[in-house]
Symmetry: C2
Subunit: 503 residues, 2 copies
């Protein structure tokens, strides 16, 4: 089958299993039930742009679907290959092509992993300023594909603000280099967020920054989450740009005050007595949520908490200006401790999915966003919709002058009859269906930085409108006329949703 | 001809002359020679999105070209209708659709003029933060179409950073609302900068900001322009974001120090003795440029000058941090005066084109940009290439962490034999041809915020590369399959360049 295709290919069973999925929690639930996931026909590892172009032409002639693959940390099922598909792992393309220390900027191949990239830049006195919590298991290409946002996005921007040029191979096999902030229409934002459906990104030129020389840390408690986000809004609208600004709801704040080690402790390491208690609690999430959202609970644990870190030359002044705002809004000073502790443990919470599933639970996150004026409705709508199904907590991060992201964390389990695992899956589906509908009803966006994949694709028409969907289809036809690039992802009508239960 | 088209139409001769052009200086030169410009078949004034959609479908069925029109202040011949074309003046669509004071944001129709918009926002305690020097004669739709940048772009962003949603009518007659920073590919940046070639923008949702409560003013002189831009770079790369940062070369600085009234005085109000002297000087621009670029001249007038204004809560601290950088780089403190004077006269210099042409001269500007590492080459290349043809001066504005815009001003006249006006036109064409080639050779972008139109379109292939041109063509086919939207603009091979002399 692979004649004329001069690159590293594997049809090995282990490889095909390894590349059959990403970190979508529902994949985990399926595996726990012993259900086999769809496996690709093969996996390839191109080493150069030319090899990607050759592969693309080869696949186009044969109508073979291609699924681009970074490091597999996606959580929306953008990687879920059909049996005729080839997964294209980009990690062998990880060279630095050109570091311009004056601009400063770096042209780097898309398969480069996050941590080694940042570490090597730091040795040059530079930073990309991109710190997604997936940084240990994600690549430059994955960031671009999913419109990633790092923890310091308020100061350094999202990945879309960092990319000044992209080299990519379109579905036609053309190698194109697109530039941002040039004359005429900007094509870079078309590819950023397109999740491998329009082109495969082979390299990205990224804006860099000098490593920050100074930082300022602060935190305040607020009586309610709402007062907290009003303070956050006031800060952003007064022109402040904290590198980090994270507002935790009372339960999340209680965990954060106890330190991240305790926070991780909520999710059990392995099946045991703790997980039995948790499973029992999670059978009746409505009562648990009602308790933890109540004012008495908030008062008991000290309310919501806003943690900020400023970077750069005016960080100390900025922190005082922020403090003035917080104190004027009934904030209580919590000192530097919470922000320093957060920084120390910034990547600690992202790898607890498997132990949770092993304990008969599931955990998931949903990152949505809205203008400040609709943020309250978004928060309330989601709590009301999801509360009956799973335990839910939230923090507010990635602030802007005009709006904010809400990052919900869910923990759920079986809460109806029948076999446990199947019931778990039903809870999972009910949760997501009600959550996405609640977001759409509140006028929020269904994804801030995790992407759309397959799990959110059935609601993209609500988000884009039928006209927006038509525009995306027109682009798809222009860039990938044979429809070989990651079919089924992003916009549903391009190909039908592959799961029996359409959310 | 206009049966079934239920909107305000004029085939009146005066209207057709008035809408035959924008402010491209070469249009002026043609008119001065008594040459007739191409006039459109008719002018229409739609009042609603539905009327625009109706017009688009009507034109599509008949293959009639449509030329969208804001307030006509473009300087690159994006408005230059053929005799079968209809000009679509959008200024009757100027309603505020929705002001969201909490976000804050405004959905406003695209025909709204700049100054009334900012004034009305100011009465609400808000600002858009967009201050193009054309603000007195440009519209929201024009800003979006040409990727406009205002004087305070370093702090508030370019128009592309302000637009969160666009309602527009594609060449197929579909009404689409595109959102920025949503999930999946962002389509807003496709339309921003597309100069009416993909869709007609009917409304834009724009990010707003509270009116700044504080400002800080500063200015420093530097021995050379290069030291000045190194200081500017240092400021931006240290994280400072002055709302205004303008570096003037020695001649431009000399005028700025004398105040804008004197600056305007360089261009005569009307033909007279002053203009005769100027015309004589401009016959030998090479010598004049060499004199004014020389170190003795720089020393005599006090060197280059950087003027900054900071806005927002930390403006005083930011100004001190900037001062530290400037003084460490041999800057001489010039006090608050130059920045305050600049602010007072910020829109004074943009309306001197007609008197110049009436005096037998021409003036024009070219706004290009490059990463800091290529800025010196860009500056030198353009001076060397253009110096033999016209008198040239420059200022550096619209700074970023990774690069900067250079804004060149030219003044020229006839400098070969033959009739004066024709010789003027030859100087003009030679100037632009050599200038654009010099920009491309230095790796700069040929347009930072004036757009491409027809005047720069013949060099867009150098900028985009043949692959980029193909991508733009694919988009054109997707959004405007019949090719009725502003043909001839932006990318040359879509239709041939309409002037005999291809630059």
């Amino acid at each position: 089958m692979f004649e004329g295709l001069n690159l590293l290919v594997s049809e090995n069973a282990a490889d095909r299993i390894a590349y059959a999925r990403d970190l979508w929690p529902r994949h985990h639930l399926a595996v726990r039930q012993g259900r086999k996931l769809g496996e690709p026909r093969a996996v390839v590892w191109p080493r150069s742009t030319e090899e990607v172009a050759q592969l693309m032409r080869w696949a186009g002639e044969r109508g073979v679907p291609l699924v681009p693959f970074g490091a597999g940390s996606g959580v929306c099922a953008a990687v879920s290959p059909t049996s005729d598909a080839i997964v294209v792992d980009m990690k062998r393309m990880a060279r630095w092509r050109r570091l311009d220390t004056a601009a400063p900027s770096l042209d780097v191949e898309s398969g480069h992993m996050g941590v080694p990239l940042e570490e090597r830049l730091n040795r040059e006195g530079l930073t990309l300023g991109h710190f997604p919590s997936s940084i240990l298991c994600s690549t430059v290409g994955g960031w671009v594909a999913a419109r990633s946002a790092g923890q310091a996005s308020a100061y350094y921007g999202k990945i879309e603000d960092m990319v000044t040029a992209l080299e990519c191979v379109t579905g036609k096999g053309d190698v194109v280099t697109l530039h941002h902030r040039t004359t005429g229409p900007s094509l870079v934002p078309l590819i950023v967020g397109s999740e491998g459906t329009l082109a495969i990104v082979t390299s990205a030129t990224l804006r860099l920054h000098p490593l920050p020389s100074t930082r300022a840390f602060a935190a305040w408690s607020f009586p309610t989450t709402e007062v907290g986000w009003e303070a956050m809004r006031e800060m952003f609208q007064s022109g402040l740009r904290p590198a980090i600004a994270r507002l935790y709801d009372p339960f999340d704040a209680m965990l954060a005050k106890q330190g991240s080690v305790k926070k991780r402790g909520v999710i059990p390491h392995a099946p045991g007595r703790g997980s039995t208690v948790l499973r029992t609690l999670l059978r009746k999430p409505r009562a648990l949520n009602a308790l933890l959202e109540s004012r008495p609970f908030a008062a008991m644990v000290g309310g919501a908490m806003l943690v900020v870190i400023f970077e750069g030359p005016s960080s100390a002044t900025d922190a005082s200006a922020a403090s003035e705002i917080a104190l004027a809004m009934r904030g209580r000073d919590e000192g530097e401790g919470p922000a320093r502790r957060w920084l120390e443990h910034r990547y600690s919470v992202s790898y607890r999915q498997s132990p949770a599933v092993a304990s008969g639970l599931f955990v998931d996150t949903m990152e949505v966003a809205a203008p400040w004026s609709r943020l309250g409705a978004l928060y309330e709508n989601v709590l009301r919709a999801v509360g009956p199904h799973v335990f839910i907590m939230a923090h507010f991060s990635h602030g802007y002058a005009d709006g904010c992201c809400i990052y919900f964390s869910f923990a759920g389990s079986a809460n109806d009859g029948g076999p446990w695992d199947e019931a778990c899956e039903r809870t999972y589906d009910r949760t997501w269906k009600s959550a996405l509908d609640a977001v759409v009803a509140a006028g929020g966006t269904i994804a801030h930085h995790h992407g759309v994949g397959r799990s959110k694709a059935p609601r993209m028409d609500k988000e884009l409108g039928s006209d927006g969907v038509r525009a995306v289809h027109a682009l798809k036809r222009a860039f990938d006329p044979k429809g070989i690039l990651n079919p089924g992802v992003l916009v549903p009508p391009v190909s039908p949703f592959p799961y029996p239960e359409r959310w």
